[in-house]
Symmetry: C2
Subunit: 327 residues, 2 copies
């Protein structure tokens, strides 16, 4: 019995890499002797806070928005997002001279709302507990003839995020190294799906691990059961970027095949990781971007003696929260 | 009439690059679309906060400490420093299994004192206003048979710092670009002397500019007069790393030949640059490391339309000051 082909393959990521190259930052692969010594491993960090808009989201957003046929571009784009996808879509639309409308929760970090507006997008706020962001976005899309740019459950978006994994694989190959473990956070799972696709294409034996906040462990649950499962209700986390209810359909089709397992971290561990990144790495990581590093520092990855890559997925964090975490 | 050869040449920097390669981080060259758009130039950042110990100082310190003959290593090393050179020397000595004693001002940032101790060095505090740090360090060196590792006025130290410039030149060449302007901060002038030597070797037409705090403008004064001159007395600045009284003798022999001019920035401009780096670059820059960026953002570099490199020299800043600056 042969396996079904996955909805996104390495060739899609190669194509995405060509599309985004003129506008995206090719982020470096960083290392830190202090971190290596602390965890007893050879650690590489993929610092996506250095990406355009301050998170990996620009990659997928630009690849998707670029795929919209020219005769449909006048209607603009619409997206729902807690903040990083919002900025990615807004920046992509601006480059391609399109209108963007972003539906954001009213409790999204102020800096994410402000930065989204700064890219020229119209921001529509909704109540996270009482309104359906997808319905609002679809309503706007219909009324304006706009194209909906989903945050993760879209092959173009996943392929775009996968360019981060492609760069990881390229840079490790240039160093003559193979990764034992690659870790990335997940909300809907687009980043880790793309990264896993690219990394596994070159390094089939690499172990791909998804990192989540304790209370938002839907990927871990779903990987265990083999079915898409929501996280438990009413959880809270400082990881505002990682609050999707359950894995995406397309992303889970990929992740259930390519990922090994999930790990989770407490808010306290995430805060410690943000502070470590400030103090020792000199990088600004947002809470949601630090869950993989948090899992590593908390000893949850069996990293000793291994070559391990941690994706730091973004750095858009309000200054007051950041100050509190690094104090 | 032919010019005298300078005390440090490109071959010394090539040699230093080989010496430090196994232990130093080869920092990337970063760019930011937001920054480019804001200043209307193609800007590259050399993020030396990503260097081992959080500043460029490890480069020169390791090159110098490595040059100590084996039969003199048992006496250890001694250095005087406000904090970044301290960490560089302490880390270099630890790698080479040598004792390090560091003479630091009692008002040095807490994080710099703590980090220096964390590398295993003994820290001796002195009063910046009433004691002579060089005399204290020399006393310790004589008593213990230790080798004094000067912070800037040493050809090995300058050659080590120059490896940052060598990497800038290599990375720009790989992109097919030539820099119009390269900016670095100066306290005693070792970093800019090394960077200028390496950059001018490949790009003789590049304009090298030294950046300083308003009240510590000894390089600018000295470049204007052609003689080493101290800054005005009793100045204050948040740039704790840039408070040397006047340019070094060896560094000025190089800088007076290779630099075009000096620019200065106010503490308010430096604070704004630290905040910009937090918000848009997602990098932790200490005040002294941000003077070049501050000069760029304040419009003091005639950058429009040019290809410009800014060295961000370090990121060791106490969390409370950082929080205040980015608020």
């Amino acid at each position: 019995m042969t396996e079904q082909p996955l909805p996104v393959g390495p060739a899609d990521i190669d194509a995405a890499a060509r599309v985004i190259a003129p506008f995206a930052i090719r982020t470096p692969l960083l290392s830190s002797p202090v971190l290596d010594e602390r965890v007893g491993a050879k650690v590489f960090l993929k610092p996506e806070m250095l990406q355009r808009t301050g998170s990996f989201k620009f990659r997928g957003a630009f690849n998707k928005v670029s795929s919209i046929p020219r005769d449909k571009r006048s209607g603009g784009v619409v997206a729902f997002s807690s903040g990083n996808h919002a900025q990615g879509v807004a920046a992509a639309a601006k480059i391609l001279d399109m209108q963007a409308t972003i539906v954001m929760p009213s409790d999204a970090p102020l800096s994410k709302r402000e930065r989204t507006k700064a890219y020229g997008a119209e921001v529509v706020l909704y109540d996270r507990d009482r309104e359906d962001r997808e319905a609002i976005a679809r309503g706007i899309a219909e009324k304006r003839g706009a194209t909906l740019v989903k945050p993760y459950d879209d092959p173009f978006v996943i392929a775009g995020q996968g360019t981060a994994g492609r760069e990881i694989a390229e840079d490790l190959a240039a160093l003559g190294l193979a990764p034992d473990i690659v870790v990335a956070p997940a909300s809907g799972g687009g980043l880790i799906a793309g990264v896993a696709t690219a990394v596994k294409a070159r390094y089939p034996r690499a172990e791909l691990i998804v990192a989540e906040p304790d209370a938002f462990d839907d990927h871990r649950r779903s990987l265990r059961s083999g079915h898409r499962e929501p996280h438990a209700p009413a959880g809270r986390t400082i990881c505002d970027a990682l609050m999707a209810l359950m894995p995406g359909e397309i992303t889970f089709a990929i992740n259930s095949r390519l990922l090994s397992r999930g790990v989770t971290t407490s808010d306290a561990e995430v805060g410690a990781a943000v502070a470590f990144a400030y103090r020792e790495l000199k990088l600004v990581v947002e809470p949601g971007g630090a869950v993989g590093l948090a899992a590593l520092l908390a000893g949850r990855l069996n990293a000793a003696g291994k070559t391990i890559v941690i994706v730091l997925s973004g750095g858009n964090v309000d200054a007051d929260l950041f100050a509190e975490l690094v104090a």
